[in-house]
Structure formats: C-alpha cells, structure tokens
C-alpha cells in the first residue's frame, strides 16, 4: 500500500503536479473537471483512468489532443467499469508474475456520467464491484445526458426539465425521484461509498484518499452542476454546488463496509429546496402556482432522507 499524500490545506494542495491539463473542450464553468482535478491531485501514485462515453470523455480526448497526463482509456458508454477492471487485473497478473511495467503503486479510477453509471453502465459497474476489483468508480452526476443535449436519465430529479422530460402546459417535467445510487452501491458491500461535492474540496479529498487506501471497489457519487443544462451562469457552479449540499438535496455522507453511515457535512443553516430550485433555470416552471406542490413534496422527501441519515449515523448501524 502506498503512502497517503499530505494535504493539510489548500496551499499544500496547490503544489500538486497537475494530471489533467487545460485545452479541453468542456463548457466554461463545467464542474466535471473541478472534480477530476481534485481527485487526481489527491495522490502522487500512478493512476490509470477509464471514462464512459459522455461530456468528460468527449471533451478531453478529441484527436489530436489528450488532456490526460496519465494513462486513460475510453471504450464505450456502458463499460467504463469493465474496462478498468481488465486493466486492474492485468496489473495484478503482472505483479504476481514479477514483470510490472512500473515500480510505483498504481490506482485505478473509472469516471462516468450519470448516464454511464445509473443507466447504461449499471450492469458493468455492478459486475466489476461484485468481483471486488481494486478501483474507484466516480459518477460525475449532472442529472442527465448532457453530452447529447440534456436528455433525462434515471438520475434526473423530480421536477427537472430536460429535453426528453420537458416542462409543458400540463407537465412539470421529470415525474420520478432520482435513483439512489449511493445506497445501491452500499448494498453491494463496498468497503467505502461516499457522496461528494467539488465545492467542499477538503471533504472530497479526504474521501478520495480514503478510497485510494481501500483494497477493493469504492463508489463515489459527485454532484456536478452543469451550467449549460441546469441553466445558470458559469461562474455560479460552486455556489450551486454549495446550495445542493446546504439544502441537503445532495447530502455529503459516507457508508463504510456497506452499513456504517457518517454524515460528513452538516449545514449550519439548512437552505430550502425552493432556494436550490430558484437558482437554476431547469426548475423555473416549478414556480408556476399549479406546480408548486412539486417543490413542497420534494422538500418533504429531502427532509425525510436527511433525518434518516442522521438517525443511522447516530445509531451507528
């Protein structure tokens, strides 16, 4: 096992040798690259990355340029976890056979959007986790298929307007609550599962370092505000991120060994779902009187989930 990189504060962190370069084509203000940089800079070990088809993939390896200062592979939309499981297996085999390609320890990370994670890549993720490969799967959760023009996914929240769940005269947009991937992955028995937000960099780095130390699969769900499809000004990405965690729509917590819940961030003053929605164009229609019940219902759900997490934390189960 490798040493944990010492990162006591942002000044320490800022001495990192970047693994992810500029010149990529992600939209201005996209949170994806903020998450990726924070995660990759959390270790000095070698890292092999696989990426599912999606914004991150399509914007960071457009021939003739790559933004990755580490080994990277993209195969398809549905197989980021399977791909990295193969690379990790090769690493283990060559270690055993005494002919590794590098003397340094190597970490394995798969990045997928919510489309590549919650939906089309779910099977391959479930399989790779069940097989116990030593890798971190990171979902860059921007709650829709943003790379193809903002269609709904099973991560799109209730009331969210997307191009395939548009708001209209009679519809308030997405009808279903988003799938709870953190709980689903915890139920796989992962040693470590967590939800993170890039605006809370210290929490994110701490969890990522915990993930790098794990000896089996880890799942991390990262809220990734998307200026283009969530419809807010690009400079507001980190403010929206803070709203997401302060309203507890995206609670920051972790689950160890499939059951031990720790809420890692408790907002001093809880923001409301209404405040969260008001900051984003995708929820604009929810402020029409006939749809106001959506925010009210959603608030109740958010409160219930928050209570549930706090109780589980308190109970230590």
């Amino acid at each position: 096992m490798s040493d944990i990189k010492q990162i006591k504060n942002l000044k320490d962190f800022s001495t990192s040798v970047e693994r992810f370069q500029g010149g990529h084509r992600l939209c201005p203000g996209c949170s994806h690259s903020i998450i990726v940089r924070e995660m990759l800079n959390a270790t000095d070990d070698n890292i092999c990355v696989s990426t599912a088809t999606g914004c991150l993939e399509v914007c960071t390896a457009i021939y003739p340029y790559t933004s990755w200062d580490l080994s990277w592979i993209h195969i398809g939309f549905e197989n980021a976890a399977a791909a990295i499981s193969g690379t990790e297996a090769m690493y283990k085999a060559l270690q055993k056979k005494g002919r590794p390609h590098s003397d340094k320890p190597t970490k394995f990370v798969a990045f997928g959007g919510d489309g590549g994670t919650y939906d089309i890549g779910f099977q391959s993720l479930s399989g790779a986790v069940e097989r116990g490969h030593d890798f971190i799967y990171v979902c860059l959760d921007n709650e829709g298929y943003m790379n193809t023009g903002g269609q709904r996914s099973s991560s799109t929240p209730i009331g969210g307007a997307t191009t395939t769940s548009p708001a209209g005269k009679v519809s308030y947009g997405e009808k279903r609550l988003k799938k709870d991937m953190v709980q689903i992955m915890a139920a796989h028995g992962c040693e470590f599962v967590a939800q993170v937000a890039p605006s809370k960099w210290k929490d994110l780095v701490k969890k990522t370092q915990r993930a790098y130390q794990a000896s089996g699969p880890v799942y991390i769900n990262a809220v990734s505000p998307c200026p283009t499809e969530w419809k807010f000004a690009p400079e507001k990405s980190m403010e929206i991120c803070d709203l997401a965690v302060d309203s507890c729509v995206f609670p920051l917590y972790q689950i160890e060994d499939g059951h031990k819940v720790t809420v890692t961030y408790k907002p001093k003053v809880k923001k409301t779902v209404e405040e969260y929605c008001a900051a984003q164009g995708r929820f604009k229609h929810l402020f029409r009187p006939e749809f106001s019940h959506v925010i009210e219902d959603w608030q109740k759900r958010v409160d219930a989930t928050w209570e549930y997490l706090l109780k589980r934390e308190e109970a230590g189960i």
Binding site: N46, I47, C48, S50, E57, V58, A61, I62, Y63, P64, T66, W68, D69, L70, S71, W72, I73, H74, I75, G76, E78, N79, A81, A82, A83, I84, S85, G86, T87, E88, A89, M90, Y91, K92, A93, L94, K96, K97, R99, P100, H101, S102, K104, T106, Q123, S124, S126, G127, A128, E130, R131
Partner: protein, 406 residues
C-alpha cells in the same frame, strides 16, 4: 526456440479442451470471459486450471456479460500483456461493439469462437452466423476444422496477433459441437516448448507504464478518422504475410503445415467445392469416394477468413470448370459471403467459371457425403453444359418445396 520439431504427446481432446489447454500453455496474463453454449467448457476448463494453480499466475476475470468480457479484455490488453477469451453466438453478438474497439486500438486479443447459430429462432447448435457477423470487425479470423487445428491455430494466433508488425486481435473459429464437443486425437507439446514457440509478450504502449502515459480511445473526427481506419486495414491486409511466415515456422516446429487456403486434390479437378469448418472433412471423404469412381473433383478450405487470401484462392481454383461455394449462414437478401468472395476472385482474375452457392447446416442441420456428392453432380452438369444450369443459390437438406434464389 529451436526451429526443430518438438516432442509431442498424443491425447484425446475435444475442441474446447484443445483451446483451453492452448490458453494455459500460452501463459495468458488475463482471461476475461463469460460462459455460453457451446464454448462454455473452454471457460470451465480454464477455471479448473486456475483452481488447481495451473494457470501460471494469470488473472481470470469471470465477468457478468460478454460485453464486459471483451471490454475487460480491451482494458487488460491496453494495460500491457497477453489476453484471451472465448465465446459463441449471442455472446459474440453482444461483444460486437467492443470487437471493433479492440481492433481499432490495435490490441492483440486472442478469442476462441465456437461457432453457433444466431437467434431468432433460438438455436444452440453450430453454424457460421456469428463468424459472419464479425467479419468486418477488423479481426484476423482463422478457421479450425478439428480439435488438433484448434490447438495449433491458437499458437499461430498469439504469434501473429502479437507481432509488432501486425498488432491485431485474432479469432480462432471452430464449429459448435461438431468440433467443440467431439473428442479426437490431439498431439500437444510440453508446456515449455509450447510457450517457447510464442515467447512472452510485453505489449506496446502499455497503460500500466506510469512513466509514459498513453491515451486509448480518442475521438477522431473528420480530419483523422479515415486515415486511422485505412492504416488499420493496411495492417490487416498485410498480416497475411506474417500468417504465412508463422504457418511455415509452425510446420517446422510441429510437423503440421497450414496454408491460408487448404487444398485437396485440386490440381486436375474440374469441379471444386470451396468451404470452411468441419464440413471440410466430410467433403474430403466425398472427394475420395468420387475420385475412386474416376471423377475429377477437388476441395478448397478457407483457413484464413480475414484477411481473405485472394491470391491463394485464385491459384487453387484456376484449373476448375465449375465451383460451389458453401455458406453456413443465411445470406439474408443476397448471396452467401463466401460465394461473394469466390465471385470477386474470379472477376479479379478474368476467370470465367460456373459458380454456384449452397446454404447448408443452419442451426446444426446435418450435411452428409450424399448431400456433398449431390453438389458435385450439379457442378458436373454445369461443366458438361459449359454454362450454369442451376439457380445461383440453393439449399442443402432443407425440408419442403425445393428452395432456390436467383
């Protein structure tokens, strides 16, 4: 490796065991696979090697689908080492997306394909629908007609695919059940000699070399895609030279010689059947029977399906008057794929011959010496008439009203 013949031991193996043993002796670094009839025993046999500590410390990744099997193979091969898998039919179909990725990234993954029909309707028995489905996927495709050939062609596959001038994935096809589940005498090498023939593989541009990171799977739009695909095709077409050279080396090593196109009594043959797979053996018997009664008949078997050995085929059929191409896959709206290859070779060489196409053996339907001798009769009728006297596409051993096309 010395270029002298190695000692060999005779055993009785079916095609699946021959494949599994070859993978074990090749000291594959990562096998990622998913079981499917009729290739399941390859995966089971290999699992047993792992369980008994006989898999040379290689990793065996028992994935949750064939799509993930090939995806893990791509990830592992890009990692930098030797990789193999096995599949059939629906599993092959599920892999197709990733087959193109493997060849496009120039990763020498070795895959044993136990050929089986494609649904619907569902059928677990042998035909070549899966092999035909992947024929444009950019893989080298070798065809084995017996368990011995399965064993031999696996080593030729590793040696060819991993050659730095080739760097392409290779499929070794064998007929479901007829080859995969039929035990025959196989001569095999010692583990040491077998591995010595192919040597170890380091991998070009390994992802696991952290000092020299590489990006695999970039998006190549308008200005780049065409060049990359044609470079790949250039490598595939030219891999025939390496295959040929390795057939020679293997002949010296084993005493068994393979050719891109296998011929049987073709030199003076007026009627020739061109086929692939286990039907080659049945046709050989038919040819012997007809030769005994004085007929000038011959047989051509395609050993290398991709890259297609056009020159070898032209040489093999140049003296014939009439030719039948046998396709073990439903051509769905046109003539069979092997027929098309033969027709192209005739046109390219300005050869004018009677050419017929027979669809046979779908879903494991029997094809006997009587059926094949019937084909030779059709061909003889064409030769005698000096023109094609039969429909272009006919069927063998199909119930119901006589069915033909064109």
């Amino acid at each position: 490796m010395a270029n002298t013949k190695a000692n060999q031991t005779r055993v009785v193996w079916d095609g699946n065991m021959a494949a599994a043993q070859a993978l074990r002796q090749a000291q594959v670094d990562v096998v990622a696979a998913y079981p499917i009839t009729p290739s399941t025993p390859i995966v089971q046999n290999y699992s047993q090697f792992v369980a008994d500590g006989n898999a040379n410390d290689g990793e065996f990744v028992m994935v949750e689908s064939e799509h993930s099997a090939m995806s893990a193979c791509v990830g592992a091969s890009a990692g930098g080492g030797r990789v193999a898998t096995a599949t059939s039919s629906q599993g092959y179909a599920l892999m197709v997306e990733v087959l193109y990725q493997a060849s496009g990234m120039r990763l020498p993954i070795i895959m044993n394909v136990v050929n089986r029909a494609l649904a619907s309707p569902l059928n677990i028995h042998g035909d070549h629908s899966d092999m035909y489905l992947g024929r444009d996927a950019g893989w080298i495709n070798l065809c084995a007609y017996s368990p011995q050939e399965v064993y031999d062609l696996n080593f030729i596959a590793f040696k060819t695919g991993e050659d730095l001038n080739v760097r392409l994935p290779v499929a070794i096809n064998q007929d479901g059940f007829l080859t995969s589940h039929t035990a025959e005498v196989v001569e095999h090498f010692s583990d040491e000699d077998a591995f010595g023939f192919i040597g170890s593989y380091v991998g070009k541009n390994p992802m696991l070399d952290g000092e020299n990171p590489v990006t695999y799977g970039a998006q190549t739009e308008g200005e780049w895609h065409f060049e990359h695909k044609m470079r790949q095709n250039h490598a595939l077409v030219n891999s025939l030279d390496t295959i040929r050279a390795n057939f020679k080396k293997y002949a010296e090593f084993s005493g068994r010689e393979y050719h891109p196109v296998e011929t049987y009594l073709t030199d003076d043959a007026e009627e020739i059947i061109v086929c692939m797979g286990s039907v080659f053996g049945t046709t050989q018997i038919t040819v012997d029977q007809l030769r005994a009664s004085g007929r000038k008949v011959g047989l051509v078997g395609i050993r290398v399906w991709r890259p297609f050995p056009k020159e070898d085929l032209a040489a093999a059929i140049k003296n014939a008057k009439s030719i039948a191409a046998l396709d073990r896959s439903c051509p769905m709206g046109t003539t069979g794929a092997l027929y098309n290859e033969v027709a192209a070779v005739l046109v390219e060489n300005g050869m004018s011959k009677n050419l017929l196409n027979y669809i046979y053996g779908l879903g494991g339907r029997d094809t006997t010496t009587e059926h094949l001798s019937g084909i030779f009769s059709d061909l003889k009728a064409c030769s005698d008439a000096g023109k094609r006297t039969k429909p272009v596409v006919q069927t063998i051993n199909l119930r119901g009203k006589m069915l033909s096309f064109y």
